[in-house]
């Protein structure tokens, strides 16, 4: 068991108005699952994802990560979990523009306190695993969108996290490059990784083994991919 969510809600207060981004979500995710989260815009997908990734804490409800209650954790503990247990892949890649691929991939290892030699070695392996062994000294603006997203995936995986979280990882890529990224995810899943992908494209969601559909902050359906 990796993740258990019970009755989680998230409120945003905008002046007098209160927005219910999540209204009571229950979810269990086990090791080596491949999950797609779908739903219309504004349904709370990203909010749920940020919660799962310990970037955000629930307004109410319970979130256990590997059996520990996240709501009770202080900021540094959350940072620790994000560093060791979670790999993030963003729609906009979020690479450091002035650093080359190698240094971008090394970042989580710096925050883990590893020595430069170990960092370099592990970052090289991670870049090779995403097929970028020959691009390690390229800066983000010297790479294609697909390559950038591969660097981001290498960065997400370099510290051997329990789960990989990807919020619209193909949103900024053309459909062919998107398929390449999804093929990479497929490989990772087969190697035993736990993967959660947010998307609103049915084609992308079909790669997963299980689909959770959100609507207005509630889970509408949850089941295996047909």
């Amino acid at each position: 068991m990796v993740i258990r969510i019970e009755g989680v809600t998230k409120l945003y207060r905008m002046g007098a108005e209160t927005i219910h981004a999540l209204r009571g979500v229950n979810l269990e995710i086990r090791r080596n699952e491949y999950l797609a989260i779908m739903g219309p815009s504004g349904s709370g997908k990203s909010t749920l994802m940020n919660m799962l990734g310990c970037l955000d804490t629930p307004s109410a409800g319970r979130y256990d990560f590997n059996g520990k209650d996240v709501a009770r954790m202080v900021d540094d503990e959350l940072a620790e979990i994000r560093n060791r247990e979670i790999g993030f892949v963003f729609q906009t890649f979020n690479l450091l523009p002035r650093s080359d691929a190698l240094h971008n991939v090394e970042l989580p290892l710096i925050y883990a306190g590893l020595s430069p030699a170990v960092r370099r070695e592990r970052a090289l392996v991670a870049l090779r695993n995403v097929g970028l062994g020959d691009r390690i000294h390229h800066k983000p603006n010297e790479m294609s969108g697909g390559q950038r997203q591969r660097v981001a995936i290498a960065r997400a995986l370099v510290n051997h996290p329990s789960i990989l979280l990807a919020d619209e990882p193909t949103g900024n890529l053309d459909s062919r490059t998107g398929e390449e990224i999804m093929a990479l995810f497929e490989d990772l899943y087969e190697q035993g990784h736990t993967i959660i992908v947010v998307t609103h494209e049915e084609d992308i969601a079909r790669h997963a083994r299980r689909v959770v559909r959100l609507r207005d902050g509630l889970i509408e359906s949850d089941g295996p991919v047909p």
């Binding site: 900021d75 940072a79 994000r82 970042l107 989580p108 710096i110 306190g113 020595s115």
Partner: protein
Amino acid sequence: MARLLQELVESFRIAFGQIRANALRSVLTALGVIIGIVAVTLMGTAINGIDIGFNRSLAMLGEDVLYVQRWPWRRVDDWWNYVNRPPLEVETAERLNRVIEATPESLLEVAVPVATRGTSVRAGELRLGGVMLFGTTGDYARIVTTDVAEGRMFNDVEASVGRPVCVLGSTVAENLFPGRSALDQQVQIRGERYTVIGILAKQGEFLGLFSFDNQIVAPLNAVRRQAGGRANLELRVKVRDKTRLAAAEEELSGAMRRVRGQLPGERDNFSINQQQAFKEQLDPIKAGIALAGLFITGLSLFVGAIGIMNITFVSVKERTKEIGTRKALGARRRTILLQFLIEAVSICLIGGLVGLGVTLAASLALGALLPALPIAFSPGLMAVSVLVSIVTGVVSGFAPAWGASRLDPVVALRYE
């Protein structure tokens, strides 16, 4: 611990990358700090230089010599209290020496009468004006700080009979006898012939005002005979232990009052002067320089600090999304705080080092132009500058860095 180290290295890396990428902006921001550091180091250098130059000059007066004179070495507003003081005589010195000898464990060693007058001097066709003529006894050698470089000082017998012999300061000797030794030559002082028996070692200028090498020392009785008693006489008293100058001055004052037969309650009819009096006159000048320097330093550092605070706020704003990304990858609050603090401190340090370089170059140039000026660029000043730069960086960078460290990662990631 390892983690903190890696984070620090990464922070410096980011800071220097950031400064390089925004070189002009960083330099302009650091300008305030540069000016501040230049001001504080120049001030320190000036004060140090004044001190060194002054002490060097004062040492020529003798650190262990008290001067008994009619007038004090300071401005007086009540001149009428001084004009009628009795002049100092040779007998005053003799009687003073008897008192000193009779005092057990006296702090004083010897009192030497010295007559001073300005004069001109001739040797053959060459004539030199504005020379100080000191008429004194054989004890003079015991109180002066200069050595006799060539020849000898006159002895007690020559002094008491007033033999016309003299010892020349090095400037006098060089000017009157260029290219040859002055020893055993004749000079004419106010029409009377003196034989040169010694030449003093070079001493240098006193505060750049007058040269100690522009002097002639001759037996007191010879000088007095010539001057018809009009030479101005003073007593120079050597102190045994220069660390107890104040106590020695007190003893001397009591001894002088006994010699003069002054009654208790009566005001001293003499003044005891010492080099310390000059030092005290210098203090307000030094304080003035320090005040001006500190004011300029404070002002420019304040302006610099505000500039750096502003630029750090801008930097945080520009990189909000990056902060979110770093937090998502496991950066703690401390990490982000350090990152921006180090960025601010780095700009300040660079400014401080540039400022130090400017001051160093300026003092070297000044030292080359005016070799007489004592320039003292001390390691202490460097340490102070580096410290001031770091403190400025921490103070000005703290608020924006703190704000950055507290950013909600979700909000930061959403920032466009």
